[in-house]
């Protein structure tokens, strides 16, 4: 009893801070999502109406919301596997004993993660330029017609994915490198003694040992990629034809551009619901893979 009281007392400062700065705002936002808080309500609270689930109902019927969710899902579905592959590939290359100056490559691959997004996004806008861009110039050398990366609704999201993967793969690469370094060498030695080739070493030793790390990285990346915002905000402003409007971008516009905080909170909670369900699903699938 006494011990548990002491425990609570020690935990109290942190709990109070979490309650005040996390749970209260979340509850406030939940309440806000049930109202039509807007500019008029900011002027005079008497203009605030309780609308129940109307904001959610409106969103369910809104073409903009479904398109934003579709855009975001497209980004996640293509971006996450690409990002994981790039991270793992880079980690294997940097970790390989054949690589010279691994520290140099590690730093170079990690550099995009720590650069300012806005600055590199501007550079990418030039790389992706239809007429003067390096990317189209390279494609042209291969005989491919110029792609209107940021002007064609079919190509804008792939361009954003390319950029986001380039910007983020270094972070997961570091985690993978750490995990690779933690694999005991005797496992490989044992495998080699049993006559395993390089591919078998990779698929029978490296991959299974990396699995917990993979699970962690996949879950973190999915949750992060669902919150796509800054890339389209800087590069395309949601265009062309709204093809790069993500859920978070829609929320930002609704809340901070049009000042419809009620609607914006509802979007935030829907996104929260989506991320939680997808993560729960992932955990379940991963657990089932691990279990047998």
């Amino acid at each position: 009893m006494r011990v548990s009281l002491a425990g609570w007392l020690f935990a109290a400062p942190a709990l109070v801070i979490i309650a005040v700065f996390f749970f209260l705002p979340v509850l406030g936002a939940l309440a806000l999502s049930l109202t039509d808080f807007d500019l008029y309500a900011l002027a005079d609270l008497r203009n605030l109406r309780f609308v129940g689930l109307d904001n959610y109902w409106q969103l369910m019927q809104s073409r903009d919301f479904w398109r934003a969710l579709a855009n975001t899902s497209y980004f996640v579905a293509l971006g996450v596997p690409l990002s994981l592959l790039a991270s793992l590939g880079a980690a294997l290359l940097v970790h390989s004993r054949l690589t010279r100056w691994p520290a140099l490559f590690r730093t170079a691959f990690f550099a995009p993660v720590v650069t300012t997004l806005v600055a590199v996004a501007l550079v990418w806008r030039y790389l992706l330029h239809t007429r003067y861009g390096l990317l189209n110039w390279a494609l042209g050398a291969l005989g491919v017609h110029p792609v209107d990366w940021l002007g064609d609704p079919r190509w804008a999201m792939p361009a954003i994915i390319l950029f986001a993967v380039w910007k983020n793969f270094g972070f997961n690469m570091i985690i993978f490198i750490a995990a690779l370094q933690a694999i005991p060498q005797d496992l490989y030695e044992a495998a080699r003694l049993d006559g395993a080739g390089p591919w078998q070493e990779f698929s029978r030793v490296t991959l299974p040992t990396l699995r917990p790390t993979m699970a962690l990285v996949a879950i973190l990346t999915v949750a992060g990629y669902f919150q796509l915002f800054a890339e389209p905000y800087v590069i395309t402003e949601g265009g062309p034809l709204q093809s790069t409007v993500s859920v978070l971008y829609l929320m930002y516009e609704e809340g901070f551009k049009w000042w419809n905080l009620g609607g914006a909170s509802a979007i935030a909670f829907l996104l929260f619901g989506v991320v939680v369900s997808v993560t729960a699903l992932q955990m379940r699938v991963l657990r089932r893979i691990e279990a047998p």
């Binding site: 008029y40 900011l42 002027a43 330029h129 402003e237 034809l241």
Partner: protein, 434 residues
């Protein structure tokens, strides 16, 4: 240990009190002893930098008023003003984009100024361009005084137009269409005749304002985009892309709009007064006599354009409204406005300020002078920016062929009616708010 310390602690109390008292006196000292009145002014972007250069003169005239200028970047200004309103920290005098005025009137954040303007010897409504002045008048009250004006008109390549066989810029849409067709025929498939960036609402808004049908109807309760006028404007806009006059791009895809006009990638560009200085600075000397400005052509005769720019407003919660008005009057004097033009290139809103030689004899601003007599306010509702953004999005879909002009107009009315729903509810309750 503790008891022995107690007396010492008690003995220290009086000095502590003295310190507290001293602090209190310091806190209230300056305001009670000095008669200087302080005035907080917020201004955005370049204007925020330049206004400080005009202030020494004001300080000479009013040595008892201390002006504190805070500069806001345009990109954060709107957000910051709303936050300041919510946090009860609004400035005394503020520069406000005139399309934001309805919003701040809805918040009841800014003070009506018609009484002060009526008594003023400096601010004379008749001297201001009517369309610009009108953007500040809501429900019979004056909420701001125009500081500088902004409108959109044609920047064009004189030489390319002459090559296509036209000596004068267009006056009507029909003439303009002929020119756009002729130029496109000359420059071939790789180049265009006009730039209408798909991520800007202004070009289409200008075309829509040129029609006599208003954009909203029934006291701005509903969208009026199904009107014949708007459909004509949207039809003309669509035609520009369908017939290859305009490249279907956003201006984030044009790496440099000035160079591209210089290169002849397009010959017409609808833009605003700040670009006069940009074209002068960015085009090489040998290209300088190839570009010119012209008023907007209209459906049948010289066209209207939008009435943009910034106004000076006095916040309702300000305790220095008298001083704020004095500074507002000072900044509205023609002589000060001319100096302001020299410093910024921002065009003055008063006709008398335009008699200055540097404006009257400038060949590039001449078209703006003519256009300013024909500017039209956009609907004065707080939701304006959202409405014109929706208009742009629908126009983009029409250009891409996803929607016909008529279907686009119907969809736009539907969206805008939903945006205005709360406004209708407010009006039905008998609220006087806009």
């Amino acid at each position: 240990m503790l008891p022995s310390r107690m007396p010492g602690g008690c003995a220290q109390l009086p000095p502590l009190l003295a310190v507290l008292l001293a602090l209190l006196c310091c806190g209230c000292g300056p305001s009670s002893s000095s008669h200087r009145r302080s005035l907080t002014v917020w201004a955005m972007g370049q204007e925020g930098e330049v206004i400080t250069q005009l202030l020494p003169e004001f300080a000479r005239l009013h040595p008892d008023i201390e002006v504190r200028v805070q500069q806001l970047p345009w990109s954060a200004a709107h957000q910051k003003l709303l936050t300041a309103f919510a946090g009860d920290a609004t400035p005394d005098l503020c520069q406000l984009g005139n399309s934001w005025i309805a919003e701040f009137v809805a918040l009841e954040a800014i003070e009506p100024l018609e009484d002060r303007a009526g008594r003023s010897a400096v601010v004379q409504p008749a001297d201001y361009f009517a369309g610009i002045w009108d953007t500040n008048v809501l429900g019979g009250h004056l909420y701001g005084v125009p500081w500088y004006v902004d409108t959109r008109l044609l920047f064009y390549r004189r030489d390319l137009l002459a090559q296509a066989g036209f000596a004068e810029p267009p006056r009507t849409w029909a003439e303009w269409s002929r020119m756009l067709t002729a130029i496109k025929a000359q420059v071939g498939p790789e180049r265009y005749s006009v730039l209408l960036p798909l991520n800007e609402f202004e070009p289409l808004l200008v075309l829509a304002l040129e029609e006599s049908d208003p954009l909203l109807r029934d006291d701005d309760r509903f969208g009026n985009f199904r009107s014949a006028g708007f459909r004509r404007a949207l039809g003309f806009y669509r035609e520009a892309f369908v017939r290859g006059w305009a490249p279907p791009v956003a201006n984030t895809q044009i790496s440099n709009v000035w160079d591209e006009l210089g290169n002849g990638y397009y010959s017409f560009y609808i833009s605003g007064p700040w670009n006069i200085a940009e074209f002068r600075r960015r085009l090489p000397p040998e290209r300088q006599d190839t570009w010119m400005t012209a008023p907007m052509p209209g459906p049948d005769g010289p066209g209207a354009s939008l009435a943009g720019g910034s106004s000076l407003v006095v916040f309702r919660r300000s305790r220095h409204q008298e001083e704020a008005w004095l500074l507002l009057e000072f900044l509205s004097e023609p002589a000060v406005q001319r100096r302001f033009y020299e410093l910024t290139g921002d065009l003055p809103p008063r006709r008398s300020s335009w008699s200055a030689p540097e404006l009257a004899q400038n060949v590039y601003t001449r078209a703006f002078r003519q256009q300013l007599e024909r500017v039209k306010p956009s609907p004065k509702v707080p939701q304006l920016e959202r409405i014109v953004t929706e208009m742009r999005l629908v126009a983009e879909r029409v250009v891409h062929g996803d929607l016909s002009v008529d279907a686009g107009a119907v969809e736009l009315d539907h969206t805008v009616d939903a945006i205005l729903a709360k406004r209708r509810w407010m009006l039905a309750r008998g609220e006087p708010a806009p």
